[in-house]
Symmetry: C2
Subunit: 213 residues, 2 copies
Amino acid sequence: MKHFSNEDIKALETRFRALMINSLSGFKSANLIGTVDANGQENLSIVSSVFHLGACPPLVGVIFRPHSVPRHTLENILETKKYTINQVNIQMYMAAHQTSARYDKSESEFEQTGLTAEYNHDFPAPFVKESRLKYGLTLKDHQLIKLNDTELVIGEIESLHVDDIALLEDGYIDIEALDSVAISSLDGYHKTQRLNRLEYAKPHNPTRIKPLG
Amino acid sequence: MKHFSNEDIKALETRFRALMINSLSGFKSANLIGTVDANGQENLSIVSSVFHLGACPPLVGVIFRPHSVPRHTLENILETKKYTINQVNIQMYMAAHQTSARYDKSESEFEQTGLTAEYNHDFPAPFVKESRLKYGLTLKDHQLIKLNDTELVIGEIESLHVDDIALLEDGYIDIEALDSVAISSLDGYHKTQRLNRLEYAKPHNPTRIKPLG
C-alpha cells in the first residue's frame, strides 16, 4: 500500500492531486443539470456531485465548486429557482462530458453538443430528451460551505419522469437497465453489472440475496 | 415514460418511496466508516452518502439521516473527531452490507461481520484491512440541514492508504482495478466496466478519449 500524509497531499502537483483526491469518495453519479436564465437562454452542464438527501420530502443535493464551469448553472438556479436533473446514460455520455467545456453564456450546450432540450408538464426548465430518468426541482436551500467556499444547493423534486421498464414493483428503479453510467475521479466513465440486491440486514442473521424485482 | 408529481410522490407507500427516491441521484459510492467511542469500543457502518467536497484541503462529506443506524458512527465522530473511510470492494460487499443491521452499541460490527480492524500510522480510528483504498479523517465541520434534519459531516483527510497498482501516473486512481463497487437505491450492488476516460473538454472541439494511464 502507498501512504500519503496530509502534508504529502498538500505538496502534490495541483492536477495530480485533483485526480487523486477526486477518486477517494468512490463511484459518483453522472447527471446533466438543465436551466434557463431570466431571458430564456438555456444552459446544460454535467455534474458528478448530485446526491440523495431525503425521500419525504424528496430532496436532492448538489455541490458547486467556486469558479467552476457550472457557475452559469448555479446562477440560473439562484435566479429562477427551477432546474432539471437528468441521468447520463451510455448512449450520450460523450456529449454529456462535452457540456463541461467553457462555452460562453450566450452559447447553449444543447446546441453545441447535439443533446435535445425538452419541456414537459409546464415545468419551466429544460429536460434532456435523451435521458431516461429525469426530474424537475424547485430550489429549497442554498448554503455556503465556508471551509472551501463550495456551495450546497438543495432542491425538492416536483416532476419525475422515468422509463416504465426500469421501475420495479417495490419502487426500486433499475438504473442499470437504463444504461446509466458512473463516474470515477474527474474523467472516468463506467457502465455497471449488478452483483446483487441484498435483503435488509438483521443482527445475527446471515446476509441474504434479494430477487431483483 | 411514467410521470410522478410531487403530490404523487408524497402519496406513495413509505418503503416504495424510499426505494424509488433513493434511485434518482444515480450510482452512489459504497464506503465503510470506522470509529471508536471514548472507551475504545469499535464501530463500523456502511454508508452510500460519502461525497467529494474539495481537493485542497482534501475534504470529504457524509450525510447522516436522522435516527438511522449509523447514528453510533455519528456519535463517535462527534465524540472523538476521528474516523476512517474505507472503499467497499466485490470481495467483501456482503459483509459490508451486514454492518447495516441494528447491532447493539456494545457489539462490534467488525466481530459480527468478520471484517478486520487495523490500526495504521498512529491514526486512532480503525481501518478495514480488507479495503484497498482507505483514509483517516479529522472532523472539520458539522451542520444540520434543517429541511429534513439530516446532518452533514465534513472531514479533512489526514492519512491515505491506496493499493499501489491502482494509482496511475497522473494521479487518477483506478478504483475499478480495486474492485470497488457502486450502489443503486438502498440495496443494489454493482461492479463496473470502464467505458473510457475522456480528455478535458474544450469548446468547439470534439470530445476525445484519453488513454487510461
